[in-house]
């Protein structure tokens, strides 16, 4: 072969090989384009301004949104923000990646599943924090978790489950609701339109894929996915047969915020404003007035939450605790602890960190013994409310549903969270913590306590957990026939029970009423309460003719009670009033109704009061308290749970005690580790220096009766009982109470000790100096003779 031929053959071979290699490496024609090939992720060029975010919206199918077209889909953060900001990286961040996080980090506030009816306060977390249960271990799927807590979630995580999770739980309605993607605007939206309440509303309506659009005010969302059939799909479009009830969610975009190229203007912050953080992270003392609340001293100095709690694109928010840098490998974290910023020290106390970031002052700590810095975290003296008798009860956004506004009252008093509980952590440092007592029904299998889902408990309990419901149903039914100024009530045990707008019962104490007086149904009229069934003689000729008309109305109203146990009847002095064939039947009470009086039900020919003794006794016992269960109810429900097929002994935990039925069949309470309180460190609000512990001296804490060491903590929970755990503040610190009392009392004589030491030092020092001078003088020959 000629040289030219050899060259051509070689070139052809090389070209063929190159084609084959490229062909092997190239994606198939039908494959989706690799996201990394089309994405041009932004990197900071050093300019400290934020670019105007006038960008085209894209939906979850990565199609551009034309706001004026019919039935546009909600915008998708993944495809709208994703082209510039790596969505897959962001979704592993602290707020979204709990399900997949390898390290749990320092304990934080758990999610608290609260169900007043069953008396459940169950701490949950996908992170392995002490005292919390993994949602899946108590039967909660990502779907359940999202509906329970989505109101305070920024999308992503459980609200954006993997395809495997979706396939594993076909009963979940992800195909109807869509997934709630990471909601960038929940934090980064600078617009005042960002509405946490709207987000919560959309989550409860199961409008997950629409929630971000609606909450940010990008568009107005109507319809409820929760009312649609599980077979509905986003591609099915509107429900043409129903414009009233099962209305398909839809978006009406604010077209004024779009330009002619259908680009939407996002008013964004690079660093989220503190208000966005506080939407889900507010903590306030219960019953405190807003005007009296002081801001965190850092906020008062002009800092934002994100000035310290920073993150990179991975959104691994710095939490700011000592040891975080070692746990995460992120050395920057050392700069953003209290010690790092104010002292320039890392967790080991080495001066290896640049102090004074953002103008953090260097604390003098004059006269404070070193042991305080070794044994106490900075927050002990500087954060949270000051110690007081009985601690401070607070409410948090996530636990008590704060900051969600609407017609209904969303915020709740329960669960009861208290602070500051000074507790020794695993590093033997004491730090202030928040505390909640868990309460839940469970089965004990061996030594393990397995919580039960509230629905499971309700199913087994039947009517045992419904006394309020029963009475409320009767009162609501009667309210239909009341005059405008009348309210049907039940009077019992010194309390007046009236129905409220949430179909529950409100109990108001009746001044001057006897606690042991028999219960009766009445009509509240102003401050007066008249009996529902007046005392009259049905046989009298001069009786009020209006009475029978009123009785007819009552009986008709009672006939509408949802779960009525029988036919309504009113018995007055051996005369029974009933409705027969739609008319009021007045007849002598049959023998079965002998002894009966007042309104009631006829069940299998026998008279039963409108509310059973159990129902009245139960609601009366709980009236005026926060508790939602009585010991009698717990005993009965435990009995009912014991009859179900599931294995393990049923138990109930509340107030730091475990309750179970003993061998004698009585309710018995005992200590159990699982009933112990769940705590997590608090860091804010940081108080000004003058309000820190120790500012007024050692006796701020070290005295014979200081609240810091000796205030008592009683277990709280939904169960009305005296069997609750009792602990002193010192016990959480791992310190002996007696010793602290003795040590505290020693501070009475401390001033005298200081004076004595000063005199002794002066005497010894002066004589020492004198002796030295004498010796020196003699040595130098100044003093020849003594």
């Amino acid at each position: 072969m000629s040289r030219a031929g050899r060259t051509a053959l070689g070139a052809f071979g090389g070209a063929l090989a190159a084609v084959l290699v490229l062909a092997a490496g190239a994606p198939g024609q039908t494959a989706a384009p690799d996201a990394t090939q089309v994405q041009k992720l932004v990197t900071w060029d050093g300019n400290r301004t934020l670019p105007a975010h006038l960008i085209p919206l894209r939906d979850e199918n990565d199609e551009p949104i034309i706001p004026t077209e019919t039935d546009p889909l909600p915008y998708s953060a993944r495809f709208t923000c994703g082209p510039c900001h790596d969505y897959t990286k962001i979704r592993d961040g602290w707020h979204f990646g709990a399900m997949t996080a390898v390290k749990s980090g320092r304990p934080g506030e758990p999610w608290l599943e609260v169900d007043p009816k069953t008396g459940t306060i169950l701490p949950l977390s996908y992170r392995k924090w002490p005292g919390t249960f993994a949602p899946e271990s108590v039967g909660l799927t990502a779907w359940d978790f999202t509906l329970l807590f989505g109101r305070n979630m920024p999308g992503g995580g459980p609200a954006e489950p993997s395809d495997e999770e979706v396939a594993a739980h076909p009963e979940a309605r992800w195909s109807v609701s869509g997934k709630a993607e990471v909601n960038c605007l929940a934090c980064h939206n600078r617009s005042g339109r960002q509405d946490q309440s709207e987000w919560a509303k959309q989550v409860l309506r199961e409008n997950l894929r629409w929630a971000a659009t609606s909450a940010a005010g990008v568009g107005e969302v109507g319809g409820m996915a929760s009312r649609l059939k599980e077979t509905w799909d986003i591609y099915d479009g509107p429900n043409l047969d129903d414009h009233e009830w099962a209305v398909v969610p839809s978006v009406k975009y604010r077209t004024v915020d779009f330009d002619s190229k259908h680009r939407y203007f996002f008013d964004l912050n690079y660093q989220p404003s503190s208000e966005r953080c506080l939407a889900c992270h507010s903590v306030s003392p219960k019953d405190a007035a807003m005007w009296s609340a002081d801001a965190d001293v850092h906020a008062a100095a002009g800092l934002k939450c994100t000035d310290c709690h920073r993150n990179d694109l991975g959104h691994a928010i710095l939490r700011g605790y000592e040891g975080e840098a070692a746990e995460t490998g992120n050395r920057t974290a050392e700069s953003f602890t209290c010690r790092g910023c104010h002292l320039g020290e890392n967790a080991a106390g080495e001066k290896s960190v640049m102090p004074g970031r953002l103008g953090a002052p260097y604390p003098k700590h004059t006269g404070i013994p070193l042991v305080h810095f070794k044994r106490l975290s900075c927050t002990v003296c500087h954060s949270g409310p000051k110690p007081q008798e009985g601690f401070t009860r607070v409410r948090t956004s996530r636990a008590n549903r704060l900051g969600i506004y609407g017609v209904a009252t969303w915020s709740t008093d329960t669960p009861a969270i208290i602070e500051p509980v000074y507790k020794k952590d695993e590093k033997h440092k004491i730090s202030p913590q928040r505390l909640v007592w868990p309460a839940f029904w469970a089965r004990r299998v061996g030594k393990e306590i397995v919580p039960l889902k509230p629905a499971e408990v309700e199913a087994a309990a039947g009517d045992l957990l419904k006394p309020e419901e029963h009475i409320a149903q009767v009162l609501i039914a009667l309210s239909q026939v009341m005059a405008e100024d009348e309210t049907p009530v039940l009077v019992s045990g010194g309390f007046v029970f009236a129905p409220n707008v949430d179909a529950g019962l409100d109990a108001v104490e009746r001044t001057g009423a006897k606690r042991d007086a028999p219960a009766f149904w009445g009509i509240g009229k102003g401050t007066d309460i008249l009996p529902l069934v007046p005392d009259f003689d049905p046989a009298a000729e001069d009786k009020d003719p209006a009475v029978e008309t009123r009785f007819l109305e009552f009986l008709q109203a009672l006939g509408t009670v949802l779960e009525k146990p029988g036919e309504p009847v009113i018995v007055v002095k051996k005369t029974a009033y009933r409705i027969v064939d739609g008319y009021l039947d007045i007849a002598e009470a049959p023998a079965e109704l002998a002894g009966a009086a007042g309104p009631g039900w006829i069940i299998e020919g026998k008279f039963t009061p409108l509310a059973t003794d159990f129902d009245v006794r139960t609601v009366t016992a709980k009236a005026g308290t926060e508790q939602t269960l009585t010991e009698e109810q717990v005993a009965l429900v435990l009995g009912a749970l014991g009859k179900t097929a599931a294995g393990g002994d049923p138990v109930y935990l509340s107030g730091g005690r475990l309750f179970q039925i003993d061998k004698a069949g009585n309710l018995a309470a005992r200590k159990d580790k699982a009933a112990g309180p769940v705590t997590w460190p608090l860091a804010h609000d940081v108080r000004p220096a003058q309000q820190s512990l120790g500012w007024k001296g050692c006796t701020d804490c070290h005295s014979g009766g200081s609240d810091f060491f000796f205030t008592k903590l009683k277990g709280t929970g939904p169960l009305l009982t005296k069997s609750v755990a009792k602990r002193s503040a010192a016990s959480f610190m791992g310190l002996g109470g007696i010793f602290q009392r003795i040590f505290g009392l020693s501070f009475i004589v401390r001033p005298a000790l200081k004076v004595v030491l000063a005199i002794c030092a002066f005497v010894a020092g002066a004589l020492l100096l004198l002796a030295g001078l004498v010796a020196l003088g003699r040595f130098a020959g100044f003093m020849e003779k003594r």
């Binding site: 003098k364 810095f373 030491l757 010796a775 003594r786």
Partner: protein, 232 residues
């Protein structure tokens, strides 16, 4: 860790020094050779022998008899209680301080700490009274010195056991003063964290100094008492 090492070295060095002094001044074999290695070997052998002898003799009964035989009990009542206060508080302070300082990483805490503070107060008071009323007994009056190279000659410095004992007393007083000062100052609103840290270390090393001084003083005092009169 550094403090532990320094403590071990200081205490061991002081003990061995006192023992060497006793060996040198009481044992004939110490003068039998001029070779340091030989002297050192004999010293070690003597030290081992004494250790064995003392351990054989030691028993609670023997210790009790020794304590009862101390001249302390023959002092007038005020002085007796003054010395009991000083010795007792110093022993507790040293024992608790060095035990927690060396063996407990957390440092002193709890009841031992309360006891330490209380004993510290007692020690300071006793020390001040002793210096005030007994210090004069420990004043040594050196002769006026002349400027010459002989000032640098150890053999001409006039270092005698009696003078070392006096210096040990004043060193003990000085250490006690520093201990009192370093306990008092952190209690006052004067020192910042760095000052507190310094005082903490200062307190520990002052305590070490006081222990070393006390060892020298006690060693020489007891040696004087036990020494055959012919060798004094």
């Amino acid at each position: 860790m550094l403090f532990t090492i320094v403590t071990i070295l200081a205490v061991a060095g002081t003990f061995l020094g006192i023992a060497l002094h006793r060996f040198w001044t009481t044992r004939e074999e110490a003068k039998s050779t001029i070779l340091y290695a030989e002297v050192f070997k004999k010293y070690l052998a003597w030290l081992a022998l004494r250790t064995v002898q003392m351990s054989r003799k030691a028993s609670p009964k023997a210790w009790w008899a020794y304590v009862k035989g101390l001249p302390l009990w023959r002092e007038p009542v005020l002085e007796r209680w003054l010395y009991i206060g000083l010795y007792g508080s110093f022993l507790y302070l040293a024992a608790s301080g060095f035990f927690f300082g060396i063996f407990i990483p957390r440092g002193m805490f709890g009841y031992p700490l309360v006891g330490h503070v209380t004993a510290g107060g007692l020690f300071a008071v006793c020390l001040a009274i002793i210096v005030l009323f007994k210090g004069r007994d420990f004043i040594t009056v050196p002769k006026p010195a002349s400027l010459s190279l002989s000032l640098l000659d150890p053999r001409r410095m006039g270092i005698t056991p009696a003078r070392v004992k006096l210096w040990a007393f004043w060193l003990f007083v000085a250490a006690g003063f520093l201990l009192t000062l370093s306990a008092l100052l952190p209690m006052l609103p004067l020192l910042r964290t760095a000052g507190q840290k310094f005082m903490f270390e200062f307190h520990r090393y002052s305590a070490l100094l006081s222990v070393a001084a006390a060892m020298v003083f006690a060693g020489l005092e007891l040696f004087e008492k036990d020494r055959p009169s012919g060798l004094r």
